[in-house]
């Protein structure tokens, strides 16, 4: 029993973050699929509805936000499943560190590889949908605040259902009611900018949601994971 120093929670947090980045790098399709889904869905709207720039400008904010929401749900599925199947999740639960931080690390890395690319590509798609120039910054900002909330909420639903064999629509049924407020305030913020009003109020509310999601989401996910491995 040669005593080597016990790891600090921050070291375990960083190691989990690094591990999930590595896994995302090696399983690229998990990352690329939701991103491509987002691009395809948004680019179908001009084809399906109308190429008329005025009409497109009206629906641009809603289309992008809905596509972001769906892409986020699509990407969530991979969050805990592989870890559950190979037993790494049990190791995570049996670590002496607070599960909150371990789950937070997984959520952060998941958002960075699946949420952030969607946010970054959105101005190009907004340009395609003829979103008024005044609203670009608000769109980017609202997505930057909103997508982490979607990830943190989705994580709870995935943690609850990870033990089920086939979950199909259950994930959407659990996630959507919680995600709808984000969708509402996200589109409202962008619409406010389009109508040359200040989006600050909506964005502030979204920031409040983000604060709540960061502080409570991983706790709920952690509790759900404990139930799921039972």
């Amino acid at each position: 029993m040669n005593p080597t120093p016990a790891t600090s929670t921050s070291a375990a947090f960083l190691a989990t973050l690094r591990r999930d980045f590595l896994i995302a790098y090696k399983r690229k399709h998990d990352v690329v699929n939701p991103f491509m889904f987002f691009v395809i869905v948004v680019s179908l709207f001009p084809v399906g509805i109308s190429p008329d720039p005025v009409k497109l400008a009206e629906i641009a904010a809603g289309v992008i936000w809905i596509a972001v929401l769906l892409a986020s749900m699509l990407s969530m599925d991979s969050l805990y499943r592989a870890d559950f199947e190979d037993g790494s999740l049990e190791q995570l639960l049996l670590s002496p560190h607070p599960l909150y931080f371990m789950v937070l690390a997984k959520n952060i890395s998941h958002w960075l590889v699946s949420g952030l690319p969607v946010v970054l590509i959105s101005p190009i798609l907004a340009y395609m949908l003829n979103l008024p120039a005044a609203a670009y910054f608000t769109l980017l900002l609202s997505l930057l605040i909103g997508t982490p909330i979607l990830s943190l909420l989705g994580s709870i639903a995935v943690a609850l259902t990870v033990g089920l064999g086939s979950r199909g629509l259950i994930l959407a049924v659990i996630t959507l009611p919680m995600s709808v407020p984000v969708l509402i305030f996200g589109t409202l913020a962008v619409q406010a900018s389009v109508n040359t009003m200040s989006p600050a109020g909506y964005l502030a509310l979204m920031l409040a949601m983000l604060a709540a999601a960061i502080s409570l989401g991983p706790l709920a996910s952690a509790a759900a994971l404990r139930i799921s491995v039972d």
Binding site: A15, D86, G87, P96
Partner: protein, 223 residues
């Protein structure tokens, strides 16, 4: 299987070999699954230096017992003490001293053995890469350090998890069927590891159908 088929503490002959410190103390454990009692009035103590083999037929609750002790399953009644304090009250201390390898060995298939071990070490005790490479060499995985684990056989993946035994300094090892996919040399090596761990003051709780050849072996039968 009926409830009457349950034996309990009487078949654990550790009452007289009471030289080691009591590490794990299970008191009056009861577990029921699907209206079927898996075990009741289960009492046993695991002392430093002991290897306790849990055996019983398929479905007799061996895995459930191990998962209950680890805290992965909470559908039980009774109390579990680690070094004199109840586990649920000092979970962090218990988890610092625990190394669990289950049916699913906790080896990510897309990562390499080295990457897997770096992560699992970082959860408990930080070890440098040199230690990780030498542990992998000890379990005969030299040359596979940088191959993704899905290219390895089931037995080799089991060996990756055995390398965790070498790298950890946890006092309590809880191993669920660790011999299942190992070849003859792997079995011998793991038996050596168990004996060495017990000799240096650790304790092992293991389920297997294999005839263990280790000194100070205790047996507990379920079902």
């Amino acid at each position: 299987m009926s409830a009457a088929a349950i034996e309990s503490a009487h078949n654990v002959p550790n009452a007289d070999s009471s030289d080691g410190e009591v590490l794990l103390d299970i008191r009056d454990l009861f577990c029921e699954r699907d209206d079927r009692i898996l075990f009741q009035h289960l009492n046993f103590k695991l002392r430093a230096g002991e290897v306790l083999q849990v055996h019983g037929s398929n479905g007799s609750g061996k895995t459930t017992l191990l998962r209950i002790i680890c805290g992965l399953n909470d559908s039980y009644q009774g109390a579990i003490y680690w070094q004199g304090t109840e586990v649920v009250e000092h979970l962090e201390d218990f988890y610092s001293a625990l190394l669990y390898i289950g049916h699913r060995v906790g080896v990510s298939k897309v990562l390499t053995p080295v990457e897997n071990l770096r992560w699992s070490c970082s959860l408990q005790r930080q070890r440098d890469d040199a230690a990780i490479y030498s542990a992998l060499a000890t379990v005969d995985l030299r040359g596979f350090e940088e191959s993704q684990c899905f290219t390895l056989s089931a037995g080799q993946q089991q060996r990756v998890s055995l390398a965790r035994l070498l790298l950890s300094d946890a006092r309590l090892w809880i191993l669920d069927e660790p011999f299942a996919t190992l070849d003859a040399s792997g079995v011998e090596q793991l038996e050596g590891l168990l004996s060495k761990h017990a000799n240096s003051g650790g304790a092992v709780l293991v389920t297997t159908h294999h005839q263990l050849r280790v000194p100070k072996l205790q047996r507990l039968s379920l079902g």
